[in-house]
């Protein structure tokens, strides 16, 4: 009874996708989740790109718990009470908002309906290796055998670390996020954000919401809630705390964000109904484990570093789903070749390298460079806001844009040439 073709560890988007596709292909699949219910350990802002998900579930638009289709993308640079905001109005349905717990629960139900056996509240303590190959998993003294194990354990890679496939995480490749869910009548959400019914907004905020520490703030509109949060790079956050720049808990930064005069009227008189926090991946490729496959093992989702941070957008769900889809294809290919050996599973990494996910990860690795340069978080926002204030807050004649930039750079003690070089490098890599 305790023998399966595939055991998937973790019922997040990646795990449920792999379980769904492999069960659908007729394999005997066991999907294990440590939380109560699929997706219960997840926490995110709120936006998923639809097309990579439709590649797995063509019925996505009709069936999935889609709250709002994103029609407005906003990016703000904030310093003090001043803010510069850029807004883009989308022309088609590309991404949607949804609470990830709902979305992941839907994915797990799809996997169950396809024939995968789903068990929650099971903590997998070990991926068991025998004679150089993975043979199953262990939980509370119980062993379950599997021909192939798919590790979808998420950002906190206790199992991979135990196997020696991943190192302890580098704090500069991790971020801590705090989030609140604010309850608000759907009509008020639409009125205040200027949205039609079923339309949503995605908003990223840089500047002193993080006290200039690498990271940012976010706002996403769900059907009848608003999700807001703060993300801080762990390494730089710790540095800032040592220097005394960061003196409060991250929840206090979130509170300041929620009560900021530029934002607070959006959720005036609305209640915070949920709060939470989690560690997330920021390293992308740098966070990827030493290898994504071994004899009888594949690694997918956050655990594999499948999180793209392009600066102006963050993609983790579609990339997780795609990595799992590619992994499922590789598993089926290996089965046809006669076994789940390292040699036969090699197709996973090859396919992944050819997919858009890898291209995204490589192309946007420049963001890591930005995150490796606190200059962009502590120096650039006040400089931009100062320049804007010179243009927009002139009582008599306003300066030319160039003059405004020049004097602002001087006042913020920024070398213009150094700035231009840095910006040039970023534009190419972002």
């Amino acid at each position: 009874m305790n023998k399966f073709d595939v055991v998937v560890v973790g019922a997040g988007p990646a795990g449920s996708t792999a379980a769904y596709l492999l069960a659908k292909a007729g394999l005997k699949v066991l999907l294990l989740e440590r939380g109560r219910g699929a997706g219960s350990k997840l926490l995110w802002g709120g936006k998923a790109y639809a097309q990579p998900l439709r590649d797995v579930w063509p019925e996505l638009d009709k069936e999935a718990p889609i709250h709002r289709w994103v029609t407005k993308e906003r990016i703000s640079v904030l310093w003090g009470e001043r803010a510069i905001t850029l807004e883009y109005k989308l022309g088609r349905r590309v991404a949607f908002t949804s609470p990830l717990t709902e979305l992941a629960a839907w994915m797990a139900r799809k996997a169950e309906a396809a024939g995968a056996l789903f068990l929650d509240e099971v903590v997998v303590e070990e991926i068991v290796v025998k004679d150089g190959r993975v043979v199953g998993v262990r939980s509370g003294g119980d062993f379950v055998a599997a021909d192939v194990v798919i590790d979808a354990e998420g950002a906190n890679r206790l199992l991979l670390e135990k196997l020696g496939l991943a190192d302890r995480p580098n704090p500069y490749h991790m971020a801590v996020a705090a989030k609140e869910v604010i309850s608000l009548d759907p009509r008020l959400i639409e009125e205040r954000f200027g949205l039609e019914r079923d339309e949503g907004l995605s908003w990223l905020v840089l500047g002193d919401v993080t006290l200039g520490i690498p990271g940012g703030g976010f706002v996403y509109t769900m059907r009848d809630t608003i999700s807001i949060g703060i993300v801080l790079n762990v390494g730089y956050g710790a540095e800032a705390a040592e220097k005394g720049v960061l003196r409060d808990h991250i929840s206090r930064l979130l509170e300041n964000f929620r009560t900021h005069p530029y934002f607070r009227h959006y959720w005036k008189e609305a209640d915070v109904i949920e709060y939470g926090g989690r560690m997330t991946v920021e390293g992308g490729l740098r966070f990827a484990p030493k290898r994504l496959y071994a004899n009888g093992l594949l690694v997918v989702g956050d655990a594999a570093g499948m999180l793209v941070n392009a600066g102006y957008t963050i993609r983790g769900v579609d990339t997780a789903v795609t990595s799992a889809r590619v992994a499922a294809e590789a598993v089926l290919e290996a089965r046809d070749k006669g076994g789940f050996t390292e040699e036969n599973l090699r197709g996973y990494e090859e396919r992944l390298r050819k997919s858009y996910v890898y291209k995204e990860l490589v192309d946007h690795s420049g963001v890591a460079e930005i995150f490796g340069d606190p200059f962009f978080f502590s120096k650039v926002p006040p400089f931009l806001v100062r320049a804007a204030s010179k243009v927009f807050e002139a009582d008599y004649a306003e300066p030319t844009l160039l003059e405004a930039l020049k004097t602002s750079a001087q006042e913020e003690e920024i070398n213009m040439l150094r700035l231009m070089l840095k910006v040039g490098r970023v534009v190419r890599r972002i």
């Binding site: 009874m1 294990l32 068990l119 939980s139």
Partner: protein, 280 residues
């Protein structure tokens, strides 16, 4: 020994909010769980079975999603489970619920074999009445002991049962069949292992009984068979929070300061009065 354990599938009240306008719980979107106080009852039943042999049957009157809760207790080691479910049973108060459960127990006795013991949790987290156990005992005309913290088989039809009371303990000898209600936290429920979860899920040991099986008079079940009326609910006054720091010289000084605060703060006095139901 054949032991029946009652399981209630309840909304997780930690996640439930109160609607101040209608005075009811907002259950929409709240995940349900096995009533936590039922798990010590399951544990008590399993330990008794380990001593006497026989089987443990879990029983729940609930809508179909409660199968998940029954799978959980099957995973703990319960031998089989019966889900008593029918639209006709919806809206039942404790009276109608105990009526259905007692008839389900009779049906078990008639079709599966003699039932020696029915064990329940102390109360449920979503209503806290502790009625159902006593009412089941009444319908079946079995002796009933509650606040039970220990049960030992003596031999034959005799059980020795210990009740936990505020500052003493009572020891009883009771003849089966009987109904027991287990004191809160009296038994630590065993963890559910992966392999027993797998077994519970694969073996499909949940039996479903509807009113077509029980054949109860529709006037005696569900909303129609429920004489209870909730006349009024009163929201407890919210205790106002104030932040104040006082550095006392010693414990006595601290106590004096807190008491002075409580006596002199008008708002707090009102709250305290509400809590004790009269003058301070």
């Amino acid at each position: 020994m054949r032991i029946v354990v009652g399981i209630k599938w309840v909304p997780n009240t930690q996640a439930v909010r109160f609607d101040p306008e209608t005075g009811t719980l907002i259950r929409k979107g709240v995940p349900s769980i096995v009533n936590p106080h039922d798990l010590p009852a399951v544990e008590a039943a399993l330990r008794l079975r380990e001593k006497t042999g026989g089987e443990v049957i879990a029983i729940s009157m609930a809508p179909p999603p409660a199968v998940k809760g029954l799978e959980l207790v099957l995973g703990m080691g319960v031998d089989r489970a019966i889900l008593v479910t029918d639209r006709a049973f919806a809206g039942a108060d404790t009276w109608a619920t105990s009526y259905v459960l007692s008839h389900a127990i009779r049906k078990i006795a008639a079709e599966i074999g003699e039932v020696d013991l029915a064990i329940f949790g102390h109360e449920t987290i979503d209503s806290s009445t502790s009625h159902v156990q006593a009412q089941v005992a009444s319908w079946l005309d079995w002796p009933y002991l509650y606040y039970v913290k220990r049960v030992e088989p003596v031999g034959g039809k005799l059980l020795r049962v210990w009740r936990e009371l505020e500052d003493y303990e009572e020891e009883y000898e009771v003849e089966t069949p009987a109904v027991l209600s287990i004191a809160i936290k009296a038994f630590k429920p065993r963890p559910v292992s992966l392999s027993s979860k797998l077994r519970a899920k694969l073996e499909k040991r949940v039996l479903t009984w509807t009113n077509a099986d029980l054949k109860l008079d529709p006037r005696c079940v569900g909303l129609k068979g429920s004489p209870t009326i909730v006349a009024k609910t009163i929201d407890m006054p919210e205790v106002p929070r104030k932040k104040e720091v006082y550095r006392p010289k010693d414990g006595k000084d601290a106590a004096r300061w807190i008491i002075a605060k409580m006596v002199h703060d008008e708002k707090l006095r009102e709250v305290l009065k509400g809590l004790v139901g009269g003058e301070l």
